[in-house]
Subunit: 366 residues, 4 copies
């Protein structure tokens, strides 16, 4: 049995993790931490049945790190750095659900997140936990940086094109997310009356932090970042590290990313607009998607004529992808749907755990 510790268990990703792990045949909960609710039962924090509610929360200082084979860290960015380091020091492998270990370049992290990165050695070795792109590295990794929800939907939607070198010009990702993506801490933006019967764009253009995560991974296909000697390095210096807040100097293509808050609890859809090069026929494009995703347990392509909706994936670990070609215009519209709490967070985290520990990849998440 994989013994599991969860740091920061009282948010929505913690809840979702616990629900998944409860039925996971190869995992067992060792401890759950919460600074604010230490001493309380999990059932005091969420309205859950006794099987989940019986777990008692402890302060992170009181967590027995040695009792965990794997630590899921569900803290906000910045707060995650030290906890991840502590868990690694104690010998546990770690899946970190924050943004702290996703960007290979520490300067880029510091510029976008506005805080120092104090764990650069760990950062250099952390693996970006998107199994469809990095399965082999994940299997060997001691520290996996679980992708953000928006990046998961956009990267999976564009990776076949990136690998083919078919991204060019301005690529637009118009994304819509459920409110749970904003976390459980009460705020005006997530007040029921403000979010209900509403739909709001925010941080549109090139302003949202998830943008750099998308560009790092999509440019990797072109040789941007590669792991060598257990560290991430830039292989192709033609693609410089972005060095302004709005790094659009890379010649071939740039990404515009517009997140919207939608009045649902969970769900995510990215509607992505790409101008295809002349030689990228519909058949050739479909082939590229099939080549990358055939055999993938959690990505499926919709038949021609269908588009992805929230409903295709909500409460599952799937990513559903629809491809709509606009006749004559050489424009491809990719619709890419995930559940932001499952494939966009906790489900993918368990999928990563399965890969890391060599059990069936779909166990407990399929």
């Amino acid at each position: 049995m994989i013994r599991i510790g969860i740091v920061g268990a009282t948010g929505y990703t913690g809840l979702e993790l616990l629900k998944l792990l409860e039925h996971h045949p190869a995992a067992e909960i060792a401890w759950l931490t919460s600074e604010n609710s230490a001493g309380q039962l999990f059932g005091d924090v969420f309205p859950v049945p006794p099987a989940l509610g019986r777990h008692r929360l402890v302060a992170s200082a009181d967590a027995d790190l040695a009792a965990a084979d794997l630590v899921f860290c569900c803290l906000p960015h910045a707060a995650s750095q030290a906890q991840v380091a502590a868990a690694r020091a104690a010998g546990a492998r770690v899946v970190d659900l924050s943004a702290d270990f996703r960007l290979h370049d520490a300067e880029t992290y510091e510029r976008w997140y506005g805080v120092p990165h104090a764990q650069r050695e760990l950062l250099a070795r952390a693996v970006y936990g998107l199994p469809e792109l990095h399965r082999a590295e994940i299997a060997r990794a001691d520290l996996v940086a679980n992708p953000g929800c928006y990046p998961t939907s956009v990267i999976l939607g564009l990776a076949p094109l990136a690998r083919a070198g078919w991204l060019s010009g301005t690529v637009i990702a118009d994304s819509k997310s459920g409110v749970s993506g904003a976390g459980r801490k009460p705020a005006l933006k997530t007040h029921f009356v403000e979010a209900n019967e509403n739909l709001s764009p925010y941080s549109i253009g090139r302003a949202h932090r998830h943008l750099v995560e998308m560009e790092q991974e999509l440019r990797m296909a072109d040789g941007g970042w590669q792991m060598a000697d257990g560290r991430w390095q830039i292989a192709n210096t033609q693609y410089p590290i972005p060095d302004t807040q709005y790094p659009i100097s890379v010649p071939q293509w740039q990404l515009i990313f517009s997140p919207h808050l939608a009045p649902v609890s969970r769900g995510m859809l990215s509607t992505i607009y790409v101008t295809l090069p002349e030689d990228a026929t519909e058949a050739a494009v479909r082939e590229r998607y099939a080549a990358l995703y055939t055999g993938e347990p959690f990505v499926y392509l919709l038949p021609a004529g269908q588009v992805a909706t929230f409903g295709h994936t909500v409460h599952t670990n799937y990513c559903a992808i629809g491809l709509t070609f606009v006749p004559d215009a050489h424009v491809l519209i990719v619709t890419s749907s995930i559940d932001n709490l499952v494939k966009g967070a906790s489900g993918q985290a368990v999928q990563n755990m399965n890969i890391m520990f060599g059990v069936a990849e779909t166990m407990g998440v399929g």
Copy 2:
């Protein structure tokens, strides 16, 4: 023109008031206060069109009390007392939307709200602003205590029976409210993800503060409270002031009140169960309701066979009442619907203003 000041304008009742008054032919905004947002425009606080957004918020200390003929006070209970007193001292008439002046008995207020009442002289003269029961007193009043939302729906649903002396035994009001009733201050209970796709009872039984407000008004019909010499007094000492937290000693009937939070922004329905006395036939009961409400501009009875729903009244100042008789059982089910922000708050406040200032009662709210 009635010059209007609004104290505490940045909550949902303030917003709703401003929307109503914007189109009110006899009213004009003099000033709006907010302690937290003083100096900002109303449009910085709410996504409203320029006609509403142009108003600048001031701290209450900077409000020119003398410039207002009528002050609407939209503060939470306790905070309202001093502001109402200040406005009255400056000569303005006041409609207070908090609970501070609704209960005639100061001890009852202090017991249920857990704070002292520092304005007892004002309290003794304040009129409970339910026009259907107290229209004449409202017209003459300098201080009107605008009813709570739940009490409005329950009192209007039961008043004809109370007046007929037809309440007996245990009367059950199972009420459902939209989330805006909980105010705009972010809290876990009103977080979108907690309230959405959920429905939650709370403070059920005899625990919610609105209960005493309902009992005060429904017992008044039996002679419980009457105004004499400009002050409220108990006329019929058979009905003592409730003196425990759960005052159920009054012989004839008791009220069980169960509020539920429903996943909508606005709307309220009370489903009320009354065991009728033998002599109260369906025809006689319908007659009593018709007698009280015929001619009322904002209360309407549904035809036999229909029940009230949120949809009957949302975004209006109406109360819709359905009467369902359960054959043989001598049980009447009253369904009483209002919009909690309109008839349950700001619409009723404007209706009261209209009565106080002698303009058409429906002006700007119909």
Copy 3:
């Protein structure tokens, strides 16, 4: 492996069944029927991943009855009778999710449902599939009538009182249900714009068909119905078969049942009001609930001071029960929550299957 056939698989209960059975270690799908969508894939009817979507729907005439050990029948009432009979004739055991086999008395069925009952022999032997009350009979049954959603929440909420003989006078069940309970066939009532931001009572009083189902089961505790020689018979003739549309002549107690449509996809809460007899202390009442439900895998009692909400059980097979005592009033408020599609339909159906086939009761539903 238990080979499964599903008749009428394209409604919400069929979808939920398929989702549950997909991960059930002891079951495998043999066939799915649909008259309207025969020939299509399940994925053409619902936005589901390929693992579910690959199943091809057949007309019921083309279903290989002999290939199924267990048939789940998900048709509307009346339509279910013949299909259940056919499946039984072919030797399959059956869990019927319609109302056709829930009422032991055929005349009562015909009066309330307005259609003849053509399978009276089967009816007499069908077992009401509420495991908490009839586990032993279910284990032996060839035909299980899966309970209605409202009855599940109300019967579980009241059974301990009924068994203790503590029901008296008027018992009120004010229930709130998600919209999926109304089925997938489009109708004005379930149109998004009509149901959204709305909450509507319907068929309140003693008018809803689920009422007789509740009374049958709750009176059984008093000896109303018992199985003898494999058939249901009235053991205690003091409780006559109800013989009017509003059968309230039974002396001890009567039930008032008021369903409400709530603007959520799934979830159900019954807020139940009972006047307790003098000798039923809070401690004694809690003891009775604990006695019946301790050890039950899918019913849990909330600690004193807590109430059940939709959130306690949605997407699970649990029933959560809160007990709120109103001081001095001898009134108990029971809050009983289930997911109408899981414990109120498909989850309970799988639980029944597990009991019938002798596998772990929680398998695939826990």
Copy 4:
């Protein structure tokens, strides 16, 4: 008083019209038609207060056309043609809310709507009822074709750029609409359980009928269509009438339009992506928007840094426009919000009526 007839009054646009007109000081209802509900009261069809509910519906054959100065026609496309012709023949002026008179070119209409246009003479003289672009023509018109909801949001969002000749390349409008836009007739797509907690793209690319409406109006700025001698004619033959289903042959720019169904009752947002020409600076762009919309009663520009949301305009006749410039990328993101039932339908219809009859443009809609 303007005497009003409404043809097809029992849809959502009819309901919204009646609510607006009820309080309109210069209008009075003469008659309402409904083929399906003829003989019933409006209150039998919608849960409305008596003031609205008292109107009796008549079959269109029984409507006294001569008693109406203005007829609002709220039928679906195709059905509208004959009713509009009848009203015009009887001398009434008409605002038609269907698509039947919006496209100046009959062949384009027939190609996109798949039905013949039998009223070509009326079509040639109908005015597209977007006051911000055609106020003078509307004032003189006998027949106004009220714009579609999506076109209203997109055209208002792009008109200043079109007039400046600053549209080029691929312009993307990613639009999100509330469910009421799909009409009141029950369908699977608008079933609560299908639409709730969901968000679905549909007819994306160049497939939705509203696309041609947008292009007609946006190209008019370039001289595409002009009224001469009371008829619409193509002034600039450089812009040919689109002659394929996906008419993208016009050299300068093409529109990609992707509607999405959002889980709200009402509201609409278009997020529009435009690549600006080099000479279009942020200041210059803002100037163009200000030039067109300053003084407009129902369009307002948001301050720099703000984006439009559903909440900015819901339940109002406003269009709110936000302009977000993406630094260095020469990309402008326009966020344009309206209430699909008000500015997108009935509110704009009343605004048009006000213009046609020479009363204050904001009367009853402000």
